[in-house]
Symmetry: C2
Subunit: 152 residues, 2 copies
């Protein structure tokens, strides 16, 4: 048991160190960038269905919505570790205001969670439900990006 | 509405394209690697508490466990996109067997979900509950890695 836990902890540490060496980005930054990519992939699938670019598939829409809800359950604090703003390091657009206004940032993350939960409720009910739910999700994304993400 | 959806879809596409250009890894690979990093970060926090390396904190343990459950809800299919095995591209250790044995791979992912759900139930009940729950999580990780992850 102890060996397993120690091995897992070592793996976690190694993972972070490897990232910093290999691509000059701290582990938490790689983690959060992956997280946003997961969101983009699932939002992209739902958006394509909402626009009729791909055929509506209730099961696929539900899986994408469930994935977004899953992402919304991830605690952002360890991913937005201190010292990982765009003022501290290259390769991130996370503004220092995130740490100055953590409660508001967390509230905006909760807003994404609410929008994802709404999508989860309606995703399998029909193609026409996707547009409004995507609008709410887009609004939640924008609310946070407008304040806390630096321009490219 | 349509503009928002189109913008989101464009962002998703841009995100994938940027990754492929910048670091030669397809978007889904970056996404899944970030996902595993999120798992490692949260497992690391729980493992440190289980071993007594850091003080037990019921709230922090619960947040880490909730985060693991959230990750377990992410659909793996779009992240393990066709053509992204270690035989196809550099920079991944995902064995081709994943796609040959998708149902078994998905079942092992569900095993992680069950272990995460167990941790979620017990994480806030006391430090002594973490060890056995970490053991189950470690077993779920190992079961999949032994079969589907190539050596470094």
């Amino acid at each position: 048991m102890k060996t397993t836990i120690a091995a897992l902890a070592a793996l976690a540490t190694l993972g972070s160190a490897a990232a910093a060496t290999a691509q000059d980005l701290p582990g938490p930054v790689k983690a959060r960038q992956g997280q946003f990519r997961i969101m983009a992939i699932n939002l992209g699938m739902l958006g394509d269905m909402a626009q009729g670019k791909t055929a509506y598939d209730a099961d696929a829409a539900q899986k994408a919505a469930d994935s977004l809800v899953g992402v919304s359950m991830i605690d952002e604090a360890p991913l937005f570790a201190e010292g990982t703003s765009e003022m501290d390091i290259d390769g991130t657009r996370a503004k220092a205001e995130i740490w100055d206004s953590w409660d508001d940032f967390a509230s905006k993350w909760s807003g994404f969670g609410e929008a994802a939960a709404n999508m989860q409720q309606v995703a399998a009910t029909g193609q026409e439900a996707l547009g409004p739910a995507m609008g709410q999700l887009g609004g939640a994304c924008k609310a946070c990006h407008d304040t806390y993400r630096a321009p490219e």
